[in-house]
Structure formats: C-alpha cells, structure tokens
Symmetry: C2
Subunit: 153 residues, 2 copies
Amino acid sequence: MRLTKQTNYAIRILMYCAANEGQLSRVSEIAKAYSVSDLFLFKILKPLVDNGIVESIRGRNGGIKLAKPTHEITLLDVVQLTEDNFAMADCFDNDETNCPLLDYCALNSALREALTAFFNVLEKHTIATLVADRPNITALLGLDLIDVAPIKA
Amino acid sequence: MRLTKQTNYAIRILMYCAANEGQLSRVSEIAKAYSVSDLFLFKILKPLVDNGIVESIRGRNGGIKLAKPTHEITLLDVVQLTEDNFAMADCFDNDETNCPLLDYCALNSALREALTAFFNVLEKHTIATLVADRPNITALLGLDLIDVAPIKA
C-alpha cells in the first residue's frame, strides 16, 4: 500500500511554491530541484491547475503559484486529486469483484472505516504545516540562490 | 492506493475457515469457492501458517483451520503479514529517496500519523466480526453442501 509518485510530486510542487511564496516559480526550476523532467511535472500540475490549487501564469516571465493560502490546501485535497482511486479491495468496485460474499461480508465496511480515519488525518495537515521549517526548506530547494520571477501586482 | 490481492485473498481464506469452524477446510474447496487456483492460495497461506494464524494438517484427510479463535485474529495481523510494505512515499525509505527536503519536511510524519489511524481501525476488526453473518456466508461458500473433513479430537 503506497501513494503514487504523482501524489508525492504534487505535494513537492506545492511545497516549492509555498517556500517561494510571493514569487512565481518556474516549472524548470522545480524540476531541477527535484531531479525530474519538466514534462513529468507538467502532467502532475494539470489537475492541480484545473481544480484551483495552483495558478499558472503564461508568458516569458510566467510561472506558477499557489491559487490559495497554504493553510487552505490540505493533504487530503491533494491526494483526492492525484490518486487514481481508493478501491482498497476488489469489493469496492461491484463490477470488478467476483467475490461470492459481497452482500454479507463486513470487510468492505471495515476498510472504508479505516480509509476514513486515514483521510481524517490527511485533512488536518496543510501545505502550511509541511513547510513550517521554511528557512531550511527554502535553502534546500536553492530558492535563496536562483533568480526568481516576482509576481506583478 | 489499494491493498494487494494477497491481502484480499488471505482475508477470504480466513473467513472461509471461520465459516467452516469445527471442520478442516480443503484448499481445493476454498479455491473453488473463490474461483482461483490452488497454487495461488498455497502461496498466500505460507505466511499465515508460518506466523501461527492458520494450522495446516497434512495427509489424505488433511486440510487447514484457524490456529486461534476468530476474535483473536485482527485485520491488522493479516495486513501486516501480507502487504509487502507500507512505504507510503519515497521518503519512508532513506535509501530510495533523492528528495532534498528529507530532513526538514513534515510530510513523512503526517503520512505516518494517517497510516497509524488506518492501522488502529484495522486492529479493532477481527475475523469474527467479518463473519458475523455466518449462516449466509456459510451458504454462499457452499459449505452447507460439500462433504467436509471433520477435525479429529
């Protein structure tokens, strides 16, 4: 049981933007900081932009920034956008299972209860809490060194 | 994010044995009930037998049965035996991650907290609660029809 790479990097993108608050972040710089390709990050960005988590500003001096305050973006928001599904077992999808016990087994409800507990914790954590140690994170991402693009008023 | 097929069928094997309490269950009958191969179930059984959840009795009239009472086998016991790992993200494994934020990011602890909440729910549910509706489950598995092997005193 693990989260997808998409989720992992979606969170890292948001942390980068949070550490770089007040500036536009370039996808190429984020890709460099995390040693991945620009294309990989663009794919991950799409649902974040489409769902109002990240704002993308086009143009030569364009870039991305968080579309809302860091404390309003929970880990649950991200995970629900980036994970394909939370079908813990075959029986979460009636079309997929051939389990004869489907209607009388308590496994499905037990797993749903466990998943809800998991989600409830993710909902408590925001991008703000993830970058609480902002000075160190900013330095580790090299944000104190690169020539960032300021957001125009 | 989903549990492996191994976990799913490990739970189904235990439910079968629970529904068939007082009798030895034949792996071939369990495989038939769930429309899978005997070999697939034998592989799943190995860690359950090795860790004292299932007892295997050899011989012509052999079979398997639960090695402890149904209310003493929690879903957490099963999941911890059958899931490969619970590394929710790269940063759960220091050797695998190249994330520059490793030492200052709160994601790892947030995910560990969520996973603990997930485990705590699984620990509350036992094989006994899964087969609470035993008459229906017994019928659905065809246990009222097959010629079962009684456990010798």
